[in-house]
């Protein structure tokens, strides 16, 4: 992907104004992430363009919201406490950071693959950008998966998604399965299982899986160990699982 500075900055401007739809934004993020890595000029321009967009917010005449809203929020923050999600921030941030560092260093870390084996460098950086954009979105949900005995002591996987977006990410660490076996992802609703693909972690145990679906359609997420090639229905031991 070799875009010139103008094309990248046009994307940055559109992005800062939120003038892209979801699909365009994902695409732009990937292209921008790939370009910014090697371009100080555009990195600097990013700040300027975002600052202009933020200033535009001030042009709208300020307006006092109804008092009720403040009372409602005040009650809600007391009930909910700070964030419900139970994965420690630092852990999520740590995994994302290690993934990012590896991707930036150009290591072939995304060899987790789903059905097709598209893991070119562009695809990897797109994945990274998407995952970071997802977990850093305040609306995102991060669900820690419960590790079953078959997962072993090192297994630690989370699922992340933004409600309303058709993307579900699994990321974290899993041990290398024994030879001839793979991990398989299942999504279930009311006890009916859909096969969401097979994957292997990379040599350091890092897992990144992207599933194109609306996670709200399902109540359960399950990863099992299956024979290479996958199984038509979950047969092997559960490794990690979560209620969505």
């Amino acid at each position: 992907m070799s875009l010139d500075h103008e094309a990248v900055q046009e994307m940055l401007a559109a992005r800062a104004l939120h003038a892209l739809d979801d699909a365009e934004r994902v695409e732009a993020d990937a292209a921008i992430a790939a370009h910014l890595r090697g371009c100080d000029e555009c990195r600097e321009a990013t700040e300027g363009l975002e600052a202009v967009a933020a200033d535009l917010a001030l042009v709208a005449p300020p307006r006092r919201p109804p008092r009720l809203l403040e009372g409602r929020l005040r009650r809600e923050i007391r009930v909910r406490g700070p964030r419900r999600r139970s994965v420690p921030d630092r852990w999520v941030a740590g995994v994302v950071a290690s993934v990012l560092v590896a991707a930036v260093a150009g290591l072939a870390i995304w060899n987790a693959h789903l059905t097709d084996r598209v893991t070119t460098a562009e695809q990897r950086s797109a994945n990274t950008a998407e995952l970071i954009a997802t977990v850093s979105n305040p609306a995102s949900r991060t669900v820690p998966l419960i590790t079953a005995p078959a997962g072993g002591p090192r297994a630690q996987v989370s699922a992340a998604y933004i409600p309303g977006h058709r993307r579900l990410y699994l990321f974290g660490y899993l041990p290398e399965p024994s030879p001839g076996r793979v991990y398989e992802v299942w999504l279930a609703r009311n006890g009916v299982y859909w096969d969401a693909g097979t994957f292997l972690p990379d040599e350091r145990g890092l897992v990144f899986v992207r599933i194109v679906t609306d996670p709200r359609r399902f109540d359960t997420l399950l990863v099992t160990l299956e024979p290479a090639g996958g199984a038509p229905a979950p047969t092997g031991p559960a490794v990690v699982t979560a209620q969505l």
Binding site: D21, L49, A54, A57, P62, I77
Partner: protein, 192 residues
């Protein structure tokens, strides 16, 4: 005027630090500081009080639940938070548009609500900056102002702007970037 923007940014940074430690008093103060600009922005984009309330409610709740989404190393809290509000407002208005387009065919006279003068408040510390931003907007060409207006305040995608104005998408993109650059120059103090 209550202090310059830098002092206010420092105050925000301090409040955000306390928010990350789940301090409800910090949340309440941030609400007092940003509810009016946030609601004004959400109302301008959505054109509807109930939708603007939903946007502001969700934005503040997201801030409380995930304060670390803001990284102080990446700029001012004000920019982060108003950008979050804007993003939600744009998403909301696009969602509503999809719904409305279906109903408009049956009921083509959708009313607009305007004139809210009595509800408008002026908080002094942002007022100064607001004047400068408005002055900068005035100095853009009408074509440049138009693409910013449609994108930022109407929540239209660039593809839709191209359709509406009957100009190529490439022109929308270059014009938008040119408008943003000129705003940047005008606002950073350098002479045009």
């Amino acid at each position: 005027m209550a202090g310059d923007t830098c002092d206010e940014d420092r105050r925000d940074a301090e409040l955000h630090r306390r928010l990350a430690g789940s301090d409800p008093a910090a949340f309440e103060e941030l609400y007092r500081r940003y509810a009016a600009p946030a609601y004004g922005l959400a109302f301008r984009v959505t054109g509807s009080e109930p939708l603007a309330q939903e946007v502001v409610h969700d934005s503040f709740l997201a801030l409380w639940q995930a304060p670390r989404a803001f990284d102080p190393a990446r700029g001012a809290f004000r920019s982060f938070f108003l950008s979050l509000v804007h993003h939600r407002a744009v998403d909301t208005v696009r969602r509503e548009d999809r719904l409305r387009r279906r109903t408009e065919r049956m009921n083509p006279t959708a009313g607009e609500d305007e004139d809210v003068a009595e509800e408008i408040v002026q908080e002094s510390w942002l007022a100064d900056r607001r004047v400068r931003v408005k002055a900068a907007l005035e100095r853009l060409s009408p074509e440049q102002r138009e693409v910013l207006e449609l994108a930022y305040f109407r929540g239209h995608t660039q593809a839709r702007i191209s359709e509406e104005l009957g100009i190529p998408l490439g022109t929308v993109k270059t014009r938008t970037l040119a408008a943003m650059r000129r705003m940047r120059m005008l606002l950073s103090g350098a002479d045009p």
